[in-house]
Subunit: 344 residues, 2 copies
């Protein structure tokens, strides 16, 4: 009825008076076993509280039935929807999901690589940036035919053969900047992420392209790093507010930083959007409840999750990376209240 240690298949077999092969069959292919035998085995399983040793199963099968999602940080609201998408696809397969944080991408590429070659999962979804060393790591994983699909993150040209699903970050950032320009802004600042983030680089590139096309100059000190978090952005925003040629609008590479800016602007006694307009990126669920509500670019997060997972399962099932064209999903400009015409 009760036991202290974990029961093994051997004990179940003994109690049921069958071989361990039969116990295994009762669990994995019950219809291969005569009903009378099965009943006996099930009773023994109940009695011992037996549950198979997953590690032993994975080892023996050479398959874990686990997919691993690697993301920069737990607690990033953007990933809520991406995970929902992933989960909805995984639910149709006999797989479970485990998540691994790269601790805000401070994990080294070697560490990420170690995770991927460790065979702890049958496939990997990378939502985290592992640039600049990423190429080597991913190439290694691919060579070992560990299925990997990259989601959300931009990938460098040299990795173009790793499947990925993301929006066109350059175009989206251009559109966001154009929106600010169309509102009459000429002095537009950009707060980016770490310089190692390709994603951020793409968004910065889009911003620069839009400014250039509109023949607007970007003053020195208008493009700052904000570490993709509230605090970093608040600090960067503080510098912008003291800039001799103060921008009338700030475009942030993600919403979290936009919130940091709005907070800092308010703290300095100024108002959004009356004194300064703020534009975000991602459309996390807090963007809408901000006051003023944040104007931003929405990523189809859930859909990205779904597509990433579908591609991963295709790769797992075919034992290869079949289709390596990046999937580009549409973004959307979400107009709310944090952008207005500049006072001038």
């Amino acid at each position: 009825m009760s036991q202290l240690a974990q029961a093994s298949i051997k004990q179940v077999a003994e109690i049921a008076g069958v071989s361990i092969a039969t116990v295994s069959r009762c669990i994995n292919n019950p219809d291969q076993v005569r009903e009378r035998t099965r009943t006996r085995v099930q009773a023994a399983i109940l009695e011992t509280g037996y549950s198979p040793n997953t590690i032993a199963q994975s080892f023996r099968r050479g398959r874990t039935n686990v997919i691993m999602v690697v993301m920069p940080s737990i607690g990033d609201p953007f990933f809520t929807d991406v995970m929902q998408g992933i989960r909805s696809v995984v639910a149709d397969h006999d797989y479970s999901i485990i998540i691994n944080e790269t601790n805000f991408n401070t994990m080294t590429a070697e560490e990420v690589g170690a995770i991927m070659v460790s065979r702890q999962a049958d496939g990997f979804i990378l939502l985290a940036s592992i640039f600049p060393f990423g190429n080597e790591v991913l190439a290694k994983a691919e060579k070992r035919s560990q299925p990997v699909v990259i989601g959300c993150e931009t990938i460098s040209a040299s990795l173009a053969d790793i499947p990925s699903v993301h929006i066109d970050n350059v175009a989206a950032a251009r559109e966001a900047t154009d929106y600010l320009i169309s509102n009459g802004h000429k002095k537009i600042a950009f707060i980016s992420g770490q310089s190692t983030s390709l994603l951020t680089k793409d968004r910065e590139f889009g911003y620069r392209a839009a400014m250039h096309k509109a023949q607007l100059s970007i003053k020195e000190g208008w493009v700052l790093e904000g570490n993709l978090n509230i605090e970093g952005a608040a600090k960067a925003c503080g510098k912008l507010l003291k800039h001799p040629d103060r921008p009338t609008a700030i475009f942030c590479a993600n919403d979290e930083m936009a919130l940091g800016c709005m907070h800092e602007i308010k703290r300095k006694g100024l108002s959004v959007p009356e004194d300064i307009s703020v534009m975000g990126f991602d459309d996390i669920r807090y963007a809408e409840v901000m006051n003023p509500a944040l104007t931003t670019i929405a990523q189809p997060a859930r859909q990205i999750g779904e597509r990433v997972a579908v591609r991963l399962f295709k790769a797992i099932e075919s034992g290869s990376q079949p289709n390596n064209q990046p999937v580009i999903l549409p973004h959307k400009l979400i107009v709310r209240q944090s952008v207005a015409k500049p006072v001038s």
Copy 2:
């Protein structure tokens, strides 16, 4: 130099001209191997790109060197700091962390139980609620001496022997309610989580106790469920705003719901705190950047993470659950701008 499939220890041994035992030693106990041999083996490892099969190692060792954190949802900002705390402790051990979502606690207790008995990890940190079936599941895990520590969540009396680390949710909610009362509020509503959440029940209990002590009555329809998210709270808040005896203050069982309330109140053309005061719980990082900034109860999230992890490692290392007194950490009332005196 390069290979398609994964190299195994056997191939490395062959190339290096040694036994697999020696290869194993080179990896796990390098100083047991003569330097000349080691050099040769390391060259072979490099040549083959070998990395040990983690699953095989775990299986053989009967130990995974993994701890698993079970949480309701990725993307909940509250867990950012808890994870930081956990990570800081895990960093001192030769362990890695994997995370498992219960999908907003919709996973059944059986599923959670299956995770815990699967031996995929050497220990478990439960940040998710698995009430009401949780007792059985946890008892089972404990019987199998799978170390489990519960963090943040309240646990029912019958589980008092499972180690846990959390704040005194009843006292904290009482204090929050007292603060509203001391501001002159007499009509105070409470938005709770799902009825299955013990945590929420504790907070509701604290609210009721404070109201009772102040001899304030709680009108029918003042206590509503908000599903712990923005949308659910907005809906509940909508009902409160239409209540014939409209409350002057709303206390939410978490910050996320407080944000939902603030949004709904604004949407209805009312103001926080001028028309209605709002109080949250948790002090997520977005609480401070709200406008008005959210008054709330702070949990020592990082510290909870640290203590939970320390207790778990103690249990893992001692092979038992040594100390089962719950650890109660201090909470703190964070006064910001979302609460003011009622207009009356």
